[in-house]
């Protein structure tokens, strides 16, 4: 059993692109933990997607041995995801550590996420080692950034370390600080086993590999273990550590970070934040902080071609093995056919799923505009949860509607503050709650805002309004009563369910107008005039007309043409509604797609 005095467990906190991954790469090099021949840049970002996007989605732990004053220390570094969608995973990574290295880009300064994650680290009582990175850059604003970090943590400027992960300068100082400033883990090997799951990955040969931090007790091969929230028992096949490649060991003891393989079939059986204990000698109390994280954002996914439905299903099932947060259930759309209604943690998660489907499973998919989940209290006293506009109840059945709200924090240079504030208040239904300085000429603003307003194109809009300088973070506050109405679109007086959307009453008119105008543009003219109407709360609130087509002349038709032209017409009639069905309008799939995406720009 390792002497816990010589173990340090730390995580990294940094904004995307602030150099977290490069920092870890450098440590691997200094401690000679990776064969230089195998070392390729950004060793820890394993998935192609992560490497390509340069962002870390999944935490990948690593153990290094560092000799400090003649003593070998084991340092476990947990590389945290850097995006708001995964903040729960971040909090669980932190729970597995005693310390955190806060990395701030000297040319960018602190960002909203850094602030949010620093507070999370303070809440988790982590010993924080603040580091300014990229000091070699000509654009580095060292003095200003030092002040920001010092202000954020309430420490003297001198305590903030300086490094360049790229050149290696100052990295050893950080290693020394980790050993000197972060407290060693504690734990009793004789107590019942308590291990925290902070991540899990699916491996097609070995099943689920669970990443754990041992708090009390010992975990070894052949142990009978119990996952506490599900009450499922498994037998341990292998335990080991990350060097960062997985190396089997005899056992894992208190303070140690490693992995367990125990015949678990999919990652949703070993959810992040859950506790593993020994089935024969279980602990009474699981570790605190476990939450069953629910999707926040919903969208429908359809195969590019209808015949690929089964393949899409299989692909999603495979993705699910490795993505505990993804949910999906079958759905249908008159325009797009059979597909799946999927739940995601947030927009990035949604994007990642789409890209992985396209890359790993070679599926081309159509994804509809995302929306949130609403709680509806019906007149009959029942409460239902709705995430699909088509399933929203009729107005006369509704007593109250609740929608999810978030606390949104935004850090921006003061120059752009006015615009952002006005935009959020006037167009995103947000209310400013609090603001404070975040360094020279920078400000942090806290808003309460409906999640629905944030999940659409807000991030892009924020970047545009601030020339890329502003950053954001959000956390869930819960559901609040809201005036949500269902906007129904009527094409030629007939409601088209697939075109329904849910909007706040205050925006119903503008969204309705844009919807009908867009549709009028996309639906081809028919031989009769077609009114396009949008209805909310029982009233028509917007209308656009598609003028009648007056000419559709079958121009030239000669001897050699007869059969060809007749075949052409016969083919056309399949797509076109016959004159007999004069009241019916054919809506091309492109129109549905454009409308389903309209929310991305307009809501």
């Amino acid at each position: 059993m390792k002497d816990t005095r010589f173990i340090r467990n730390i995580c990294t906190i940094a904004h995307i692109d602030h150099g977290k991954t490069t920092f870890v790469d450098r440590i691997l090099e200094i401690t000679k933990s990776v064969d230089p021949r195998k070392m390729h840049e950004q060793f820890l970002d394993q998935m192609d997607l992560e490497r390509e996007r340069g962002i870390t989605i999944k935490a990948q732990p690593v153990k290094v041995i560092y000799n400090h004053d003649g003593q070998d220390y084991e340092i476990n570094i947990i590389d945290t995801p850097g995006h708001v969608d995964f903040s729960y995973e971040v909090s669980r990574s932190m729970a597995a550590c005693e310390g955190a290295v806060l990395i701030v880009d000297a040319s960018q300064g602190i960002e909203a996420q850094t602030v949010a994650h620093s507070y999370l680290a303070i809440e988790n009582e982590l010993d924080i080692v603040p580091v300014l990175n990229k000091i070699d850059l000509p654009t580095a604003n060292i003095e200003e950034s030092l002040q920001q970090v010092a202000d954020l943590l309430g420490v003297p400027k001198e305590d903030v370390l300086k490094m360049s992960a790229k050149t290696g300068e100052g990295v050893e100082n950080v290693l020394r600080a980790i050993i000197e400033q972060v407290r060693p883990p504690q734990g009793d090997p004789n107590k019942p086993l308590k291990a925290l799951i902070f991540d899990a990955k699916y491996d097609k040969y070995r099943g689920v590999i669970v990443y754990v931090r041992i708090f009390d007790g010992v975990l070894k091969k052949k142990d009978q273990i119990l996952i506490m929230s599900t009450n499922q028992r498994y037998e341990v096949e292998e335990v080991g550590i990350f060097t960062p490649t997985m190396v089997p060991t005899d056992s894992l003891g208190p303070g140690e970070v490693g992995y367990v393989i125990a015949g678990i079939k999919e990652v949703s059986e070993a959810k992040v934040g859950d506790t593993i204990t020994n089935a024969l000698a279980p602990t009474d109390e699981p570790l605190a902080g476990y939450r069953d994280v629910k999707p926040m954002v919903y969208a429908s996914v359809f195969p590019g071609l209808p015949e690929y439905y089964e393949e899409l299903k299989k692909s999603l099932e495979k993705l699910k093995l490795n993505d505990w947060a993804l949910t999906f259930e079958p759905t249908t759309s008159p325009a797009l056919g059979f597909g799946f209604r999927c739940g995601f943690l947030g927009l990035l998660h949604m994007d990642v799923v789409r890209e992985r489907l396209e890359r790993e499973f070679e599926m081309s998919v159509i994804m509809t505009a995302p929306n949130v989940e609403y709680k509806v209290l019906l007149r009959n006293g029942e409460t239902i949860i709705v995430n699909d506009p088509a399933k929203f109840p009729e107005e006369d059945q509704i007593e109250k509607v609740y929608e999810p709200y978030v606390r949104l924090s935004i850090i921006t240079p003061t120059d752009y503050m006015g615009n952002i504030l006005t935009h959020l208040q006037n167009e995103r239904r947000a209310t400013l709650q609090h603001m404070e300085n975040a360094g020279k000429n920078r400000i942090i603003m806290y808003f309460k805002a409906p999640l629905a307003e944030i999940i659409t194109d807000f991030f892009g809009k924020l970047k545009a309004m601030s020339r890329g300088y502003a950053s954001m973070d959000y956390e869930m506050l819960g559901f609040e009563e809201s005036e949500i109405v269902k906007l129904t679109v009527l094409v030629n007086k007939e409601p088209v369910d697939a075109l329904s959307t849910l909007v706040h009453k205050s925006k119903a008119y503008t969204v309705a107008k844009k919807l009908v105008d867009k549709l009028a543009e996309l639906i081809p003219r028919h031989q009769f005039e077609i009114p396009i109407q949008a209805k909310a709360s029982g009233r028509i609130i917007a209308r656009a007309d598609i003028k009648a087509l007056r000419k559709d002349v079958l121009a030239k038709c000669y001897g050699g043409d007869v059969t060809r032209k007749m075949k052409l017409l016969e083919k056309q009639k399949e797509g076109k509604k016959k004159l007999r069905e004069i009241g019916q309008v054919s809506i091309p799939q492109e129109a549905f797609l454009a409308i389903l995406k309209i929310g991305e720009e307009e809501k």
Binding site: P524, K551, D552, L554, Y558, G559, V562, R580, S586
Partner: protein, 376 residues
Amino acid sequence: MESLSSTLVSENIGLYLHVPFCKRRCTYCDFVSFTDFSQVKEYFEALWKEIELWSKFLPRIHVETIYVGGGSPSDVPFELLEKTLERIRDMFLIADDFEFTIEVNPNCEFVERLRFLDVNRVSIGLQAADDEVLKCVRRRHSVGDFFRTFETAKNFAKVNVDFIVGLPNESDRTIENDVHVVETLRPDHVSIYLLETHESEFETAISEVVENRYERFVEAVKEMGYDRYEISNFALNNSFCRHNLKYWRNEDYIGLGVAAGGHLGRIRYVNSPRLGEYISKLKEDDFVFDYFSRNDDLQELKETIFMGLRLSEGVNIEKLREIWWMFDPYELFHDLLGEFLEIEDGFLKLTKRGFDLSARVLADVIDRVSLMAVGR
């Protein structure tokens, strides 16, 4: 081919010859044509062979109309056309009052020589009376070329002028020019086509602007005294195109050359659109059908209606009943009659609105005829 001799063929037929060569393709055209002239000679030899083959099957037939279309017949060596006509005269009996049409691009010198071929009808592809529009669709002539060609042609032949509405760079002004050309030259015959652009497989995309221009052009030509005897065709003083009328009345005609089609009795055929195949098969004294069918009653009925409704005279309902005795337009089209179709003096025809939406109306009409036959 036994079925061909057993089929009922009238004594008079039309003859169509396809010349699938163009020095340059116009952007809007979807007729079969090639810009490689290396096989022109071989092609014509194959064509002569085809004339010979047909004449063996139809030894006593009278040819009433000849129509040479393309492609650009005015792009190939004159001697080849000359020889072709010689073959036709050798192989078939030509009616005394025969109509002989040839399609030409505005080209004075070529047209001048046509009178020696006994051509009596010249169809000139002007398309637009504006040099900018012509350049844009890669036509090779100017409006000036057209005027000279027209003057030459009218000395010895009836003249048709082709126009297309909906071309790029077109404007209200260029359409006014088109109208002006018809007004001043008063050709015997005018064709006004609405360019078919298909946005998707099923939808025809025509802007309101183009609709208005087409409407104005058509109305102006009618006001000048032209008879809109077919959806896109207008004639002065009954100068109808007798050859095309055979198509629309679903009478007998044979088509010669690549992609050409014919109708003889109940036979409907289309030749292969592939030049190499056409040439090599005919070298072996063989026809080159890409489509060949002996129409059953239903198919014959559909084709007769489909083509006949293009004419303002419509289709003779009695003639349709001869093909299919149960055919009842009143029942089949009850909800279209009035708005899109009408019945007058025993003829079923399109209304003005039916003409305007002919693609849709015809699609529906044909669909209903098919359903009628399966008893639904």
